[in-house]
């Protein structure tokens, strides 16, 4: 037992959790904590908007695979975190937020900068708690880290009243806790594994559909081994990108509303769908009854509530993806020889060939050319983040992710403004790896002020703006479904991103051709400050394929049709 203040106990607890970096912004009700942060040895990165602090912690967590920590003051500081926390919640990312709160006696009095952040974040956190006494801090921090990073990960918020930060008490860092309501199931049930093996052995047209859960579970090797052994094509959700190299012959790419044509053709033809760490979201399945109507579905997920939530499944396995696939493969290997060829694989190959050149034929620099150049120039471990909208879907369709945790995007919530701060967070997590935010102009505008963070904290990333001067995805829908009435979707070339970059003392460059882009990218990779590359593209460029709302995968619109 050691006597210290709540703030000191919190910092000591963070050190014990091996926290090296914190993203945050100080304010009145978190000043006692920031006074300890001042010379505590943990690096504090000053964000320029709390939303960005949360996205940075999120990008950090996704790149590194361990929790990211953010701080904000009470009231507006805390509420500014909300978008970032909701983003992390939807994509199962272990973000841990610590918020200042007004002193205990002031709670409920509508004090200055008081907000009920525990109430506000209850539906968007895995767990949240307001600390009532300083002595609770060591155990509460341990619990926060444990809950955030185990089972299905997710954000946790710890609210710290100002006087609790100041209060001095005996602190017990060895104290244990009993989470009797939280016991994630990791081990697969042997009978379910056996049945999954039977399903797969009988399958003629099996497909593995892999989501973000498989990346969280570090199941890359297991996914690939099983698929290669059975010659089973692998599709991914947006969140599953990077689980295997997308250049692999068995990779059919992303499935869904803007999925690859071959993937969207193949899924409805499957007779067994092995769904791993994915949740049958509407953007992946489109019209659910036409998704894989003839397939038996095996659904592996560590979160039992995902089983049967959206799709009816034939065989649920509530367990860790990696452990489950390991056991399935062990049994498959004993029951069949490695498959060297199959008519199903021929079909996969035929479709992949058929659609490989199904790309935009519009004017000027095409988004896929930028994606191709990025892939050609960037190392396989380079991290790409994206904003949300057309840029995100072009990146998903055309940029081949090669390794897990190298494609970071706001999949569930679809948060515009996520990509840039997430890139900063990822760069802090992996300082030796190039980090590129594939951005749109509309999204980048939402968090551009954190160019200041990038400059001041010396976090060099590359922002590639696919600049169509539109809220592009909105405009695309207006083009297709609203008779080209561009209601509130034109951005009219404001701001000048080169000048904007200069204002923040970082590099800004505008390119007029793919060749100029390559040159700018190579320069940017050498620079020790952030580079914003403005790539003007045609405002008429569409994201295709596209499955119109309410339709099945087979009804997708593709280029040239």
């Amino acid at each position: 037992m050691t006597r210290m203040s709540g703030s000191q106990a919190l910092v000591e607890s963070l050190k014990r959790e091996k926290v090296k970096e914190i993203f945050g912004i100080p304010g009145g009700q978190i000043l006692p904590l920031y006074d300890v942060i001042y010379d505590c040895g943990i690096r504090h990165i000053l964000a320029h908007h709390e939303q960005c602090a949360a996205h940075m912690a999120d990008g950090y967590a996704r790149a590194k695979g361990s929790p990211g920590v953010c701080f904000a003051t009470s009231g507006p500081g805390a509420t500014n975190l909300v978008t970032g926390i909701a983003t992390a919640y939807m994509d199962s990312s272990p973000v841990i937020a610590f918020t200042g709160q007004v002193s205990r006696v002031m709670i409920g009095k509508d004090a200055f900068q008081e907000a009920d952040i525990v109430g506000i974040t209850t539906p968007i956190t895995k767990y949240n708690v307001q600390i009532q006494q300083a002595s609770e801090i060591p155990v509460s921090v341990k619990m926060a880290f444990h809950i955030a990073s185990t089972g299905r990960p997710g954000p946790v918020l710890v609210d710290l009243p100002r006087d609790v930060q100041i209060e001095s008490d005996q602190m017990d860092f060895a104290a244990s806790y009993d989470l009797r309501g939280y016991k994630p199931n990791i081990e697969p049930h042997p009978i379910q594994v056996k049945r999954a093996v039977e399903f797969l052995l009988q399958a003629e047209r099996p497909i593995m559909l892999v989501g973000g859960g498989a990346i969280i579970s570090n199941a890359s090797q297991e996914v690939l081994r099983l698929a290669e052994f059975m010659l089973m094509p692998i599709g991914t959700t947006l969140m599953g990108k990077g689980i295997i190299p997308e250049t692999h012959p068995l990779s059919i790419g992303m499935v869904g509303m803007h999925g690859k044509a071959e993937a969207n053709k193949l899924i409805p033809e499957s007779d067994v769908l092995l769904a791993v760490g994915m949740r049958f979201s509407d953007r992946t399945t489109c019209r659910l009854d036409q998704f894989c109507p003839d397939a038996k579905i095996i659904h592996i997920d560590v979160d039992s509530a995902e089983i049967g939530k959206n799709a009816k499944v034939d065989l649920p396995i509530v367990a860790d993806a990696r452990k489950t696939l390991t056991q399935i493969l062990e049994q498959i290997v004993q029951k069949m020889a490695k498959r060297e060829k199959s008519t199903w694989f021929d079909r996969v190959h035929t479709l992949k060939t058929q659609f490989q050149n199904n790309k935009s034929n519009g004017q000027g620099i095409k988004p896929y050319e930028i994606a191709d150049e990025l892939r050609r120039i960037l190392s396989s471990n380079a991290i790409v983040t994206t904003e949300v909208g057309q840029n995100q879907m072009w990146a998903a369709q055309h940029y081949d992710a090669l390794e897990p945790r190298t494609y970071i995007t706001s999949g569930g919530l679809g948060t515009m403004g996520f990509g840039f701060p997430a890139a900063l967070g990822a760069k802090v997590a992996k300082p030796d790896v190039p980090v590129v935010d594939i951005a749109g102009d509309g999204s980048f505008i939402m968090t551009e002020q954190d160019l200041a963070t990038s400059f001041l904290e010396k976090i060099p990333v590359i922002v590639v703006i696919l600049n169509n001067s539109m809220l592009g995805m909105v405009a695309q829908w207006q083009r297709f479904f609203y008779n080209r009435r561009y209601s509130a979707s034109e951005l009219k070339n404001v701001p000048d991103f080169v000048k904007l970059a200069e204002a923040y003392h970082v590099n800004g460059v505008r390119v007029g051709s793919v060749g100029e882009f390559s040159k700018a990218l190579r320069e940017a990779l050498k620079s020790d400050v952030t580079t914003v590359i403005d790539v003007p593209i045609s405002p008429d460029e569409n994201v295709l394929p596209m499955v119109p709302a309410g339709m099945g995968l087979k009804d997708m619109m593709i280029v040239g049709e």
Binding site: T122, P123, Y127, R180, G181, S304, A305
Partner: protein, 168 residues
């Protein structure tokens, strides 16, 4: 789609502030409807028991149970089988007493329903009635013509028959 019916869910939760909010909030957020909820501390003072009744089909109820289980402060969830479960609800009913005829009617009803009069004044009585919800509904129907001033119902609480118990 299977048929909708009423399910009774027995739930053990951490007995601490905010847990009722968490549970109620989950129902609201996921679009499930709570018919009734009753909460009280259990034989262990750090545990509370919620008895929640919900209308829905089998698939909805399965999701309700899973989503409840997902909450960190929820320790144990179990669907109580109506055939082997004792359910009770209590209501306090304030009834207008217009004249002596009305008063004697009420006394008769209270007798038949094996309930009690727990307060009496010149123009009203308060009846305490315990039973399953149908019994309380029936009493209310009967008392309606006399003039009901106020009703306070607890919502259903329930335990399964026999030795089995919901334990952590």
């Amino acid at each position: 789609m299977t048929e909708e019916q009423t399910y009774i869910i027995g739930t053990l939760v951490e007995h601490k502030p905010g847990v009722l909010f968490e549970v109620a909030n989950m129902f609201r957020r996921r679009g499930f409807n709570i018919e009734s909820i009753s909460v009280g501390v259990t034989e262990q003072k750090d545990l509370a028991r919620m008895t929640i009744t919900v209308n829905g089909d089998e698939r909805t109820i399965e999701q309700v149970v899973k989503q409840l289980n997902k909450l960190i402060n929820v320790i144990k969830v179990s669907i109580l089988d109506p055939n082997t479960t004792v359910t009770r609800e209590m209501a306090l009913i304030k009834i207008h007493v217009a004249d002596t005829k009305a008063r004697s009617d009420i006394i008769q009803y209270v007798d038949i329903f094996r309930s009690h009069i727990i307060d009496i004044s010149s123009d009203s009585v308060i009846v305490e009635i315990t039973g399953d919800s149908e019994k309380i509904d029936a009493f209310l129907d009967l008392a309606m013509p006399l003039g009901i001033k106020e009703v306070a119902r607890t919502g259903i609480t329930a335990l399964s028959r026999g030795g089995k118990a919901i334990k952590e």
